[in-house]
C-alpha cells in the first residue's frame, strides 16, 4: 500500500509487519494518496 508521510512528505510503502510509521522520520500520521487511475463518475 502506498502512502505519503504528512511530516516529511516522502512516499512510504507499508507492509503488515512494520506498523503504521514512516520509516524515514518516524512520524505516525500517513496520508493515503489518490489512485493514479482515471476515475469515472456518473452525473446523477
Amino acid at each position: 500500500m502506498s502512502y505519503k508521510c504528512s511530516r516529511c512528505k516522502r512516499d512510504v510503502e507499508l507492509d503488515e509487519f512494520g506498523g503504521v510509521r514512516c520509516p524515514y522520520c518516524g512520524h505516525r500520521v500517513l496520508l493515503k494518496e489518490r489512485s493514479p487511475n482515471v476515475k469515472e463518475v456518473a452525473v446523477e
Binding site: R34, V38, K39, E40, V41, A42, V43, E44
Partner: protein
C-alpha cells in the same frame, strides 16, 4: 376537431418570451407546458472521467456542477442518445470556467462561458474528459431546456362604475397580461383589445383606471405563456419542438387505437 390557434407575442428575445395563445383548452395549454419541460431533449454532461482532481471539491461534486452547465443543442443534427465528448484542463492558481470546456463538436459548446466550476489554488489541478448525452427532461432535470415555463389566463379588465368619491382607493394588484376593455377610462393611449403587460402600470389597476371600480374576468381559451430557456436553443425552437412532440404523440395515439 380542428381549431386555429392565434399566437401574439408580447415579449420576444432569444432566451425569454411571453406570448398569448388563443383557441386552446386548459388541457392543451398544460400539455404544451409539460412538453416544453420534459419532451424537448438537450445535451448535458452525463459521465465524467477524472484524470486528475486536486481541487477542494470531490469528483462527484464537480460532476454535478458540470451536469448543470447548459450546452448548445442543434436538434436538427443529433438524435436523442447521441454523445459528444468534452474535456477540460486547468492548472491553478486559476478558476476553471465553463468556457474552458473544450468540445469535440463545435455545435455543442457551453451556452454560458462565465460559470465558475471550481476555484483552483497554487499547485491544484483539474483535468477530465466527459461525455455529453442528448437526453430528455423527463429523465433528468439537467436535460430540461425550458426553465420557469408557465402560463396563466389572459384577463380582461372592465370598468363597472366609479369608486366612491371620498373613498380612499387601495391598490388593486394584478399580475400578468390584460386585454384592454375600457380604453376610454385608461391612462395614456389605449385601444380596446390591446394586450398590456401589468408591469407597465406597476401591477396596480388603480394606476391605470384611477377613480374607477373595475372587474377582472378570465378570457376563455386564451393563455399567456411565459417561457425561458437555459440557452441550449432559443425560445422559438423550444416552443415549436414542444408542440411538434405533442402532435407526434397525438398521432401515435390515434394510430394505436385505430380499429
Amino acid at each position: 376537431m380542428v381549431n386555429d390557434f392565434q399566437v401574439e407575442f408580447i415579449e420576444r428575445e432569444d432566451r425569454r418570451a411571453r406570448f398569448v395563445a388563443r383557441g386552446l383548452t386548459p388541457a392543451l395549454a398544460n400539455g404544451i407546458r409539460r412538453a416544453m419541460v420534459a419532451d424537448v431533449p438537450t445535451f448535458s454532461i452525463d459521465t465524467v472521467r477524472f484524470v486528475e482532481n486536486t481541487s477542494v471539491m470531490f469528483d462527484e461534486m464537480i460532476g454535478l456542477r458540470l451536469g448543470l452547465v447548459p450546452l448548445t443543442t442543434p436538434l436538427d443534427d443529433f438524435e436523442p442518445g447521441d454523445t459528444v465528448t468534452v474535456a477540460l484542463e486547468v492548472d491553478g492558481p486559476a478558476t476553471a470556467y465553463s468556457g474552458d470546456i473544450e468540445s469535440a463538436d463545435d455545435m455543442v459548446v457551453p451556452a454560458d462561458e462565465n460559470i465558475p466550476i471550481i476555484e483552483l489554488k497554487e499547485g491544484q489541478r483539474l483535468e477530465f474528459e466527459a461525455d455529453a448525452v442528448l437526453g430528455y427532461g423527463k429523465d433528468h432535470a439537467k436535460n430540461q431546456g425550458g426553465v420557469a415555463v408557465g402560463y396563466r389566463h389572459l384577463q380582461r379588465v372592465e370598468v363597472v362604475g366609479d369608486a366612491g368619491e371620498f373613498d380612499e382607493q387601495e391598490p388593486n394588484i394584478l399580475r400578468g397580461v390584460i386585454e384592454e376593455a375600457a380604453a376610454e377610462h385608461a391612462e395614456g393611449d389605449a385601444e380596446d383589445g390591446d394586450l398590456v403587460a401589468t408591469e407597465t402600470f406597476g401591477n396596480d389597476l388603480t394606476e391605470r383606471y384611477p377613480g374607477k371600480e373595475v372587474e377582472v374576468h378570465d378570457v376563455p381559451e386564451a393563455f399567456v405563456f411565459s417561457v425561458e430557456t437555459d440557452g441550449s436553443f432559443d425560445v422559438d425552437e423550444l416552443v415549436t419542438r414542444a408542440v411538434a412532440s405533442l402532435g407526434d404523440r397525438a398521432a401515435e395515439l390515434e394510430e394505436k387505437v385505430a380499429l
